[in-house]
């Protein structure tokens, strides 16, 4: 390629530098504008965001597999090392659980008799959608995760997400192939809960740390360390009775809850669908009716 004559270069070079600087400032301004627009109308970018997430979902799925396999190998090694101790502990647990099983059977029978007496109408059965976590947020101030189940698997906004031990969070965005979970630790997460034996009503608020705190508790409520925290079902978003954690500290820091679920061990999660209307639904009823009609 022939070099441009020097005279033209002398003119275009400063112009090009100016254009570059102008482009940089323009882009900086554009980023600030996008931030402000997103604050004014949070839903405006939702479709674009989910489109990008959907497109990246297959790649994220493929990439998260090797790390999961590596973690599984480390777990296997650790498991083999602790085999004997674990065996002893498990035998003791087994004996204790057998006693609980007998008690549970008696309680179930009594429950059935009482229900018959009261003509009790049972709550609707939950349907579960299984999904795998394909992306953990890398941000310092955001606690969300991506899972590989989307609208085509029946996921809707607002559905609670659980694992065996308890509640993790709820769905806040769904695309065709992937969805985003807002964890209970996140700043924006507010969950109505019931604390302790008295089932005092309160709200579990996350603050980006590993121990969310309890707010809006009645002044005369007496909360003790170790009290169980479960969802209260108020607002219709979460079904009642989902285990959340136990009270871990009641100091000056506020009442902190140690969640049952430790996020580092999350790989597979279950999304609960109870057919509840809730306060967050967008247009779920038609989809459900259409699916049932099929």
């Amino acid at each position: 390629m022939a070099k441009r004559p020097e005279s033209i270069q002398r003119v275009t070079a400063p112009l090009r530098a100016l254009a570059q600087r102008f482009a940089f400032l323009f882009l900086l301004l554009a980023a600030g504008t996008v931030l402000m627009v997103g604050k004014a109308d949070p839903q405006i970018f939702d479709r674009a965001r989910m489109w990008v997430t959907d497109t990246s979902a297959p790649m994220l799925e493929a990439l998260s597999k090797p790390v999961a396999t590596g973690a599984a190998i480390v777990d296997e090694a650790r498991y083999l090392v602790n085999l004997r101790e674990e065996n002893v502990t498990l035998r003791k647990d087994n004996a204790r659980l057998l006693q609980w099983q007998a008690a549970a059977r008696e309680l179930a029978a009594e429950n059935a008799r009482l229900r018959e007496l009261l003509n009790y109408v049972p709550a609707p059965e939950a349907q579960y959608i299984s999904a795998r976590i394909i992306a953990d947020t890398g941000g310092a101030f955001v606690r969300t995760m991506l899972v590989n189940a989307g609208k085509r698997d029946g996921v809707r906004i607002g559905l609670p997400v659980v694992v065996g031990e308890g509640l993790i969070g709820r769905i806040v965005e769904t695309g065709e192939r992937a969805s985003r979970i807002l964890l209970i630790n996140d700043l924006n997460s507010r969950i109505p809960v019931a604390v302790g034996q008295n089932r005092d009503r309160a709200v579990l608020a996350g603050d980006n740390s590993s121990q969310p705190k309890i707010i809006y508790l009645a002044a005369n409520a007496n909360i003790q360390l170790g009290a169980h925290v479960v969802t209260s079902g108020q607002g219709g978003v979460f079904p009642p009775g989902l285990p959340v954690g136990i009270v871990g500290g009641t100091g000056a820091n506020g009442i902190r809850v140690e969640t049952f679920v430790s996020q580092s061990s999350l790989e597979y999660v279950r999304i609960m669908d109870l057919g509840l209307a809730g306060v967050l639904d967008e247009a779920p009823r038609q989809d459900q009716v259409r699916q049932e009609a099929k």
Binding site: Q20, A23, F24, L27, L28, A30, A31, G32, T33, V34, L35, G38, K39, F45, R49, V52, T53, S56, M59, L60, L63, S64, V67, A68, A71, I133, I134, A135, D136, T137, G138, G139, A140, F141, V142, R143, T144, M145, L146, R180, L187, N188, D207, N208, S209, S210, S262, Q263, S264, S265, L266, E267
Partner: protein, 172 residues
């Protein structure tokens, strides 16, 4: 000598390497690693990449690419759209204008510069998130992330240096 199709493709790939590397760093930052408090441990890889490449090969990392990469990172991590774009562009601007300060200086100076820039970036992110959410956020989660980021800069930079050596010479 007329370049063949393969040579031109090779040149094209080498010229887009910094952009591709930064994109890979963004994706690497969100891969789930099953360690406790993983979210606090993962360093800000995209920040390292933008800092390094905007200082050493500015012409291969245009501002528009940094903007798009920032938006992509916002979407993947669930942050408010535009937050990381703004911060990465800020880092890009600082590096491009301060290039001459770091020209031909030792690696320790570059690393020290990174510590300052990373601190400014995290401070900016904290302020913007606090304003965005209209509440006071504890800065503690960011502190650990900051130390991990500056501690892991040398090995990542070493990797970048190796990659840079394989790129075509810049025509100043």
């Amino acid at each position: 000598m007329k370049a063949t199709v393969w040579q031109r493709l090779d040149t094209l790939l080498r010229n887009t390497t910094p952009v591709l590397i930064t994109l890979c760093m963004v994706v690497a930052g969100v891969i789930p690693i099953r360690l406790p408090e993983a979210s606090f441990i993962v360093p800000m890889l995209a920040l390292m990449s933008v800092y390094y490449w905007s200082m050493h090969r500015t012409e291969l990392l245009p501002a528009a690419a940094v903007f798009v990469i920032g938006i992509f990172q916002d979407i993947l991590t669930g942050a408010p759209l535009g937050l990381n774009a703004f911060i990465l562009l800020g880092v890009f601007g600082i590096c491009v204008t301060q290039r001459r300060v770091f020209y031909n200086k030792s690696f320790a100076v570059v690393w020290w510069g990174f510590m300052v820039v990373a601190a400014a970036a995290l401070l900016c992110e904290w302020i913007l998130m606090s304003i965005y959410l209209e509440m006071f956020i504890s800065p503690k989660p960011a502190l650990f992330k900051y130390f991990m980021t500056i501690a892991l800069y040398p090995p990542i930079a070493w990797l970048f240096v190796r990659i840079q050596r394989s790129l075509p010479q810049e025509n100043i």
